[in-house]
Amino acid sequence: MRATRDFSHYVKHLGSGLAHIDLAVEGISCAGCISKIERGLSAIPDVTLARVNLTDRRVALEWKEGALDPARFIDCLVELGYKAYPFEAVTAEAAEAENSRFLLRCLGVAAFATMNVMMLSIPVWSGNVSDMLPEQRDFFHWISALIALPAAAYAGQPFFRSAFNALRSGNVNMDVPISIGVILALATSIVETIGHAEHAYFDAAIMLLTFLLIGRYLEQNMQRRTRAVAGNLAALKAETATKFVGPDEISVVPAAAVKAGDIVLLQPGERSAIDGTVIDGRSEIDQSLITGETSHAAVKPGSAVYAGSLNISGSLRMRVSAASEGTLLADIQRLLDHAVQGRSRYVQLADRASRFYAPVVHATAFLTMIGWLIAGASVHDAIITAIAVLIITCPCALGLAIPTVQTVASGAMFRAGVLLNSGDAIERVAEIDRIIFDKTGTLTLPELDVVNSAAVPADVLELAGRLALASHHPVASALARAAGAKSPLPGITEQPGQGVRGILKGEEVRLGSPTFCKADNIANEVLSRDPEVSVVAFARGEKRYVFAVRQSLRPDARAVIAALQKRGVAVEIVSGDREPAVRAAAEMLQIPEWRAGVTPADKIARIGELKRQGFKVMMVGDGLNDAPSLAAAHVSMSPISAAHLSQATADLVFLGNRLAPVIAAVDHSRKALRLMRQNLYLAVGYNCLAVPIAILGFVTPLIAAAAMSGSSILVMLNALRARPLPQENL
């Protein structure tokens, strides 16, 4: 049975005889890659378009329909040295891309209007002190109105909509004072222009929108970028299933294309991408990603196998069940929903600032009006002064204070190997004082490692590694990786459930279970020294060797834990794994507090307990069983190797084999939060200087414009300081 790969699920038919596919590609980093990939793919006959997008790390391909099989493009990219996989944009990402384009369009319109209104305003400002005719001034004001009104109506949409939605649900957000300020400024300016007055605020209103749109666009762009990276990572995981398309015919299809009731084949060494029930075959499966338990579970016909389980020994035929029927998954989902609701109560810094800000500003404006009326000013003058107060306090710099820092900090974190899943994660990471680590796959590496390779002669290790390439067993793959084996030995046969064997220069070589290699004695000796390891035996002629394989800690785990403790962050391990394994890891990392054999519900309970004690907890975990606790924690982080659901739930995702990104995330976030606060103070301080001038009625459009752009530039420059961070060697 040779499997065919079927990617038709991802192919879009454009009409006019063309087909289109998007591929996520790993390893594009430079100009050379762009031309190499584009030329390589364009050289294929019938390909009409091959375009690399370096920002999103994707390739768009179009070809004449029917002429080519999309699986070949992936082979071609592999040939060129890139790993690629078809990519399907999720609706959320498509919506975000559209929103980002809309904001850029608004920004373009607002910037155009600002420049042109400014061109008219500056002559008016200078003309007011020299010799401009009132007719000329009115003419300039009317033209300004002609530009500013439609531009504000278009470019203000994001703010008006959001303010309207907030008010309808009885809330106040930053967009409410913005919208009120802009609308009042425009309305007064029209009334003033009709009355041939000296001052109009068209420039201030439209400039305010421009600055705020810059902030909005930056924020949106940051989110879109991390969403794109996360989408690629999900695609490159290439979750596929081997589906039976006939009684004896199989086809490798994307997991998304498998439906409930389909029959799939799960071979040894494969990770299941779906939930199902075994209908044929016996095997052992590794469910550590789901339960955290590292010992293997036996499965037989009728047993349930969940997505994320790793098949160890025998081939399984499974019937796909709908995800909702799986009791374990349903349980986890229920816990997850509950936990997510708890977290959505977190109020972002910007919203907290605006809740306080809006009433103060509006009250000040109102009091100004009353004050001037009491002091004997005319109703018209009192209203104009009050509106000047509103314009000068419009939170222009406040709107930029947080997004600019977020953008700069997320770029810096991206370079340190940390991806942000949610925009407000930075604020929450900065507040943590306790981290709960899961053990398996988080503190330890996701893959197994040979621990006694130094005790075995190098040539034996190399030979065993080459032999191991013939097996799909995870322990064998670990051995092959440790030996750096590249070329498999010829003529090797696999004995299911036992091992592999072959003949080399007249001698029999075997690799597999100790019994299969007749090496039980040595194996027992190794196991008696360290009961936590898995063993694999190697026999050549009469010689016997035993390799011990186990999950090893991430290389810098100990240093990172120590560094975290130095920063005043308490660390503890909460794992679903057995006690001896957890104890060993905790001792090695010098973590005094640990819990073993913890169920998902107990993990949440532990987090809840810490929350009640007033701790801000960060959860770092990778398993499906961690997903609910990731959602329940104040903030959460997952390694890139994590289960799908966990990664989607986590606020941050870190790359690579090292644990150092956790430190980077904490440091960058703390620094960013400090700068965000500074920015808020700067913006408010600037307003405090300008407000007395406005209350006293001295504000001219020139002062309003200067105050607005001055404070905005100050805040942006301060945000750039989030970029560098002193390096610490771990």
Binding site: A31, I34, S35, A43, L54, L68, R72, G108, F112
Partner: protein, 62 residues
């Protein structure tokens, strides 16, 4: 000073052309890959050897 009656609308018209140009380039996807555009500008046009996968493709066509 009557000249401003022509000059101001003329200036606005020029600005409007700029805006339309921006909107056109946005719609055209010119801002979709800013990083790639930066690199494309400095890449040479003629240093690629035809990669091997052309043969791979032509062998395996259905």
């Amino acid at each position: 000073m009557e000249v401003i009656v022509f000059l101001v609308p003329l200036a606005l018209l020029l600005g409007l052309f700029g805006l339309l140009g921006f909107l056109w380039s946005l719609k055209n996807g010119q801002y979709d890959d800013l990083e790639g555009a930066a690199w494309r500008a400095i890449s040479d046009d003629d240093e690629t050897q035809a990669p091997r996968c052309v043969e791979l493709m032509s062998e395996s066509r259905p």
